[in-house]
Symmetry: C2
Subunit: 260 residues, 2 copies
Amino acid sequence: MSAPKILDLGSLKQACKSCSLHDLCLPLGVGDEELQMLERIINRKRPLQRKDHLYRPGDRMTSIYAVRSGTVKTYTLTDDGQEQITGFHLPGELLGLDAISDGVHPCAARALETTSICEIPFDRLEELSVRIPGLQHQLFRIMSREIQTDEHFMMLLGKKASDARLAAFLLSLSNRLGIRGFSRTEFNLTMSRNDIANYLGLAVETVSRLFTRFQAAGLILVRRKLITIYDLDGLYTVAGTQPVEDLRNHHNGNGKSPPM
Amino acid sequence: MSAPKILDLGSLKQACKSCSLHDLCLPLGVGDEELQMLERIINRKRPLQRKDHLYRPGDRMTSIYAVRSGTVKTYTLTDDGQEQITGFHLPGELLGLDAISDGVHPCAARALETTSICEIPFDRLEELSVRIPGLQHQLFRIMSREIQTDEHFMMLLGKKASDARLAAFLLSLSNRLGIRGFSRTEFNLTMSRNDIANYLGLAVETVSRLFTRFQAAGLILVRRKLITIYDLDGLYTVAGTQPVEDLRNHHNGNGKSPPM
DNA sequence: CGTATGATTGACATATTTCAAGGTCTGTGG
DNA sequence: CCACAGACCTTGAAATATGTCAATCATACG
């Protein structure tokens, strides 16, 4: 498929490049004007500050969101009021897909640092998906991917010991950051130890001890929030998984669209 | 919305009634002929026998499936070859949504008893969803629901002790069976203790002991595979959750469609 | 600079797993 | 129809990973 008005397309790509809609629409041979339509319904929200909520449980769902920069954590509350973190969302990842079903957010979403967000009104996105079959397909794929990573995560919680969980967590961050062009071996943890523990179903103390242990084993260097990975393969061994992109990675690894 | 040709519609309802496509299309005011189109693409497969595979990891994904009767378990294999069960699927529930993303099944699906299945070719379903916006919306909702129940399950694995997990599991079965018109208080476990333990991230022995304990506490009666629930409220207390429909229930509780 | 928050570390408690044995049901073939 | 094999389930005792409690330390922040 040839793209006429290549300059136009280029500038559009620019606008969506760091957004998950990038791989949502681009590999599909969607026409220019359709691409513009998509771009037009997206709103930039003013940046969230650390601890700001993007939405809270019970909020009416009108849009889904894409992280442009920063990090967002999503969490539910257990019936006794405890927080259970369901995910950390990096630039290019989508948020709020769990709310489509009821039209109400079952989770809260909260910024872990200064974060900028794209808002995508869901009703308009649905309208567009009817007109752009490739877009519909991509949305199905993205939601499917989320289900898949959730299943993978269940396996982590159900079968793996604490060290494997933390290793897998670090590798997940490493991969997802790597895909976005950041370093795979040195990055900041934008979430607290508490958040990590909560997410992985462990006690904070366990996480802390594991960091110490991983460091003693020469796998990583821990300097407060800054993690340096010395031994990726070693981490994979601890995690007990093959070095595949995994765990909540909403990105589409292969450039070509397989089904269709 | 009034339904002309009510007889026609009635017979179609009949055909799809026990299928999850029932609540996928019916509450939407989809016209008769569109309903027929949907019905036409669905294939009945010959029944699966116990232990038959519907698909295996790595199989090319061409369709999604709905359970008509029986039970199907889905599971992944860990890198060291262990089975991790990701779900049990009762009549009216959909299967294979996790495979859309890659066009390949990441899981296996296997019948736990004689099971009949509807096959829905996914490419044709996608085509239809473009022509029937209400269908597209329902598909989004169904996938969203799955993400939501997955999140809920993560909370179970991450935060809850063994007794709460098993109680929640029994309540989930109870609710899902209840919605489908079966008894909420007496049912057969079509899966082995091993499967239950695997799914809940526990050892078989723990599950066995819990059944004994629940029975001693007067919560349930266990006769081999047959469970009789004596004290639903008590189970909810142990599970530490409100009596809401939960846990892998793909059904749409409220008759009205909230968003749109 | 002092206070609050988060992180680390140690000692102890415990839920759950592991190991081991025995029991029960089911289906099969003689 | 019975006996047997194998799968499945249950139960006990011991081992252990992880959680809990508590104290200290480091860092960030006002």
